[in-house]
Symmetry: C3
Subunit: 348 residues, 3 copies
């Protein structure tokens, strides 16, 4: 498919610089060429922009003068780029109907416009809405409900009674509604605590490959509208993730924790159980959140790696940090100098 | 199904307070209502208990006087609750037999009481015991053996020669018996070292979604009876996990490490290779275990996150901690004060 | 299969000590017995070697005199052992042809010598080369290409347009080519950025269970020849991993990062986005790489766990490390002693 810049400018409300009849058929990086449209959002890429041989670019107003080729000027070039890309690279349309190799329980309700792919399984009582795609090797469990336009890309397992909102996309390997980690201890052994809650996922959510979302122990685990979960994230039972929060890969969230709206959690983060994180919190990658956060802001505990010998000296000294304090106290006593640190800092 | 409190009290050996004919049909939180039974194990929830409108509660003896509704008094309310929940919310019984869409090798032995679900694969020589459930999209590899009442919930991959003990539950996405990470280096490149061991999992084990357990390089990887593994855990080749140990999500255990019995390992923990962790060790979440532990107790290295500017000051100072020691030494020399820290702390 | 030591010595160019007619049929540890061959590469195992009852051993020249049984002497015992093991324990040969339960699109090209296993799916336009094994429950997406001798062990999902090089092995649960985490923010919500790149994996690569490799946003994600990825690794969009680099389990690599050749990355490591790691870098387990590395060497930031009360004292002091510096400055002022730390260390 090829579209003209004029069409794109009108459709997405951009100012157009250059020939409106310029045709583009694909998106690409600034290094791309003929028929390709790219984007630049930051002035840090001004030089690359000036050198580009793309057919066209989407740029921030501050960069409009630097584009050597026709340009769409947008106040949010990344968002405009996303929309243009979706138009130029549409998802392959799946044909309506149930593939003959799929196994669909007669009591399931499958909308005639939905696609149930090869070797998928739809269990008793499941409800599959209009235009839903149940990709190959996917499972829709008993009494699960998928709203319109949900897409299970491939090999997605949606366990019984899970509810998935409209337009939500689940990537390969995702497991929704597996049992939470509920165990009662008795005499040094464990008794399984049945997990009778479910999982409810809102609309316009996207969940990355091999991410797992456990069903609730009693109440439900809830993912609100517009949430973005990257790959290999673990969401434990009864967690609630607020609308439009984005969480990067390899993060784990322990049971019953509530995360607010519009948070951004860096990859590899661990968030303890039964915590409450307010709206608009940012956590840098590799975070360890062990206490509730009630103030928006950015939180971190990353310690950048060092050359190993240097690092071992630092750790050796850290492990003996108490001795530094002891030595300072002795010097203070000898010199008759008062401890100058504040009381709140709690020097003993 | 509805059961009377009187029946439950008798069955689980609890003292009963209130009307034995009180009927309950489901478990729930203290916020639940009609026909629902909940539990309270900690006096921290006394106020919620006093306000509950549940049909009945299971309580610790210390809380027996606080329940405004009929109560089962138990010395281990959580364990009693687990048993009541299992009774009120039984697992859906799978019908015996092989689904016509499953692919079962003629040389496999499938007990007639077992269920092999839609689109499952059972390979040559596999043995499937009484009442086993092989859920949809699951694979039982060549010569693998599943003892009675094993449950592969859905999309579980059990590779060849793995052995799974009675009543063990494997959740969706679990991989048992994939090749360990065995590589010999030669001339800057890697040669694969065949992994000829297997995986043996004991009885009454539960393994969470997307957890992976590698087969042994030479000897077997072993998970003993009653172990609990949460989601997205990685168990490398030749690890041995002792009976009744529980490990929370996103933990990784490197090769040939032995973990004792009744340990509790917090989520997101990394445990190095070829270590030995004794019985009854507790590791708090996000732990990094790099040395063997031969003394029961609780171990930690969590550093709670801070507001980012404050954290960066701390890390900057940590990276220069050696300079603090140097400055103290200079002050000690100038003041003629001896280093007061102990020899063992190894100040230079 | 049984082979004589004489045959093995000749085949792998080893010096032979003892009877060339000694037969071995399996590999094992030093604790093994009749018919079993083991290996010892390190003098740390000299005592175990002297006590072994194996049929034969593969040893380093420094240990040739210590073997109480016939021995193959090799300058790289581990590599020789890997080759002997592959010979004695060959992978089960899959029969050529497409299993009747597999679903293969008529437009896919499947080499007649390839094996497409039970319940596998091969989509339109896919190309499957000679002797490839597509294991049970695996998916080869639209226009994906698998070169000769590729092995998808079982339940591997290769998304559309992915390219996999010769002899590469993908273990169960692997996802190749899922969408990267691309989101544009607009008005507090997220717009999906279509991911139009692909994944290219080289020859002789091995990827462990449940590892995920995302497709590129615009350009491709690239794994070069001979790379080794362990289980549950996350490779984000547009990452490039250099030839013969090995990465241990549970590591996450954020978007657009380039890792050089022959690197060795310990398990549980997090590597930030848009970084460049040069060739021959070693990172110890649990690393946090937040800056580019342009110098080969070993890097670390592991902090070994401590008994919890001791650890909490250390962390408490770390969080107040600034107060130690303040107290030292006060003592220096009182004593008229100059700050002895270097300017570069940046004491304020």
């Amino acid at each position: 498919m090829a579209l003209s810049l004029g069409e794109l400018a009108e459709r997405f409300g951009c100012e157009l610089k250059g020939d409106p009849k310029t045709l583009v058929h694909a998106v690409g990086t600034l290094a791309g060429g003929e028929g390709v449209i790219g984007f630049v959002a930051s002035t840090a890429y001004r030089d690359e922009l000036r050198a580009t041989r793309l057919a066209a670019v989407i740029v921030d107003p501050r960069l409009a003068g630097d584009a050597p080729v026709p340009a769409l000027v947008s106040r949010n070039p990344h968002a405009t780029f996303a929309r243009v890309a979706a138009l130029l690279h549409p998802v392959t349309v799946a044909s309506p109907g149930v593939h003959p190799s799929a196994v669909v329980d007669p009591s399931a309700l499958v909308d005639p416009s939905a696609h149930v792919g090869p070797l998928a399984v739809v269990e008793a009582g499941a409800q599959i809405g209009p235009r839903v795609v149940v990709g190959p090797h996917s499972l829709v469990g008993r009494d699960a409900r998928l709203a319109e336009d949900v897409r299970l890309v491939a090999r997605v397992t949606v366990c019984d009674r899970s509810v998935i909102g409209a337009r939500t996309i689940l990537h390969p390997g995702v497991v929704v509604g597996s049992d939470g980690f509920g165990n009662a201890r008795e005499g040094g052994a464990w008794i399984k605590v049945p997990q009778v809650g479910a999982v409810r996922i809102g609309a316009d959510v996207e969940v990355g490959a091999n991410t797992t979302i456990d069903r609730g122990a009693l109440d439900d685990t809830v993912i609100e509208d517009g949430v973005r979960l990257d790959n290999q994230i673990q969401v434990a039972h009864n967690v609630r993730i607020g609308a439009h929060t984005a969480i990067a890969a390899c993060t784990g969230i322990a049971g019953s924790t509530r995360i607010g709206q519009r948070c951004m959690i860096g990859g590899g983060t661990g968030i303890g159980g039964q915590l409450s994180i307010c709206d608009d919190v940012v956590v840098t990658g590799f975070g360890m959140i062990t206490k509730s956060i009630d103030k928006p802001g950015m939180y971190s505990n990353v310690i950048p790696a060092e050359e190993v010998r240097q690092w071992r000296r630092i750790v050796g000294r850290l492990k003996r940090i108490e001795s530094l304090a002891t030595r300072i106290s002795a010097l203070e006593a000898a010199a008759g100098v008062a401890d100058t640190s504040t009381q709140e800092e709690g020097n003993d």
